[in-house]
Assembly symmetry: C2
Homo-oligomer: 187 residues x 2
DNA sequence: CGAACAGTAGAACGAGTGTTCTCCTTGGTC
DNA sequence: GACCAAGGAGAACACTCGTTCTACTGTTCG
């Protein structure tokens, strides 16, 4: 009857795929491990997804949506536009300190894939574009002279903090990035 | 006679491994492809390296040394300490625009490996620590109040620019990072 | 009831993986 | 000349990969 009813099995598959990819990367996430972890049969996976590539892309798109929702919601929990811009890095800090933090899934999977035209890379690019657009909105609300330039600079701070936090294990990168953002905003 | 004579075959193997890993990642670099590309036999590879892991680590350590040499040499081609700090990003820009640029090999391979204790991750951490130490030296020469803090902030700008350049394909990230560095240095 | 469907369990297949092996050639060194 | 280490070409092994298949179990609905 209802064609848009949420399919439970499909959701489980996507959930588990998303988690395994984030934890260990695409190559290390075998269909066998997926079957065992999700508790579904191989046939069920191939019923909903043409092949592993399609499954991976769908899982990453799901993570894109969910991460952006979580991030923007958390950042928006402050009053003034200036607070929101600084809050970007406070929320990042909380993410770094959370259990199971493994950096940004999209940076990681981009590094795994050599071909820039690979669907995985395109999803990553779209994700970062969405993040840039969101930051740009905040900059506009803040009343920045050049919101686009400011947003691009803040994005560099965000990506830099994430990368340093992952590779060096230095979670204080969020604080250092926030310190730079403060100077940039003239606060 | 001379025990420290440079071994040509070993060098070729390391060279090709380094290039293939940078181009396509560790998982995509099979021993078979390595044999065909390097024009050496499997036996030769296993004569010099215990297994693939050891080869990968050795190739990454080699890249660490060579990249740092190249980078510091290029950056040091300026007169004043202030110029050198800004030159960090000019050199980065040149790297981004160079043919075959695929981001930072150490960020990429860190994303490929889930386990933080993996030798690959340790090599990456050491590489970024060396880079941080170098930037810290420049900051000290510059006469910064807190060279360590400044260096950590500049490192975030560097890693952020690299990540944005790779994932978004936006090479102007180097310019934007340099712009922020200028503000940070009060120039 | 019975057809249709979503699902599990698991075998099977071909291709690719890292690794080891044998056989052959080459270029020195006692 | 005898020896031996270095290297090449490629077969072979055990394993894992993604993918497909068959056989069986419920559930739903006309």
């Amino acid at each position: 009857m209802n064609e848009s009813i949420s399919n439970e099995t499909r959701d489980i598959i996507l959930d588990v795929t998303e988690k395994l990819i984030y934890k260990s990367g695409i190559a290390a996430t075998s269909m066998d491990l997926l079957v065992k972890t999700a508790g579904v049969s191989r046939k069920s996976i191939y019923r909903y997804f043409a092949d592993k590539d399609a499954l991976v892309v769908a899982a990453l798109q799901r993570r894109d949506i969910r991460w952006m929702h979580w991030f923007t919601n958390a950042v928006d929990q402050t009053e003034t536009p200036a607070d929101r811009l600084l809050n970007l890095f406070t929320v990042l800090k909380g993410w770094f300190d959370s259990e199971g933090f493994r950096g940004c899934a999209f940076i990681n999977t981009s590094g795994e894939t050599g071909d820039p035209q690979d669907p995985v890379r395109l999803v990553a690019k779209e994700h970062k574009q969405k993040l840039l657009d969101y930051v740009c909105e905040l900059c506009t609300e803040y009343g920045a002279e050049d919101p686009q330039l400011l947003a691009r600079q803040l994005l560099i701070l965000i990506e830099g903090a994430i990368t340093v936090a992952l590779v060096m294990g230095d979670h204080s990168a969020a604080d250092n990035a926030q310190c730079m953002a403060r100077k940039l905003l003239g606060l």
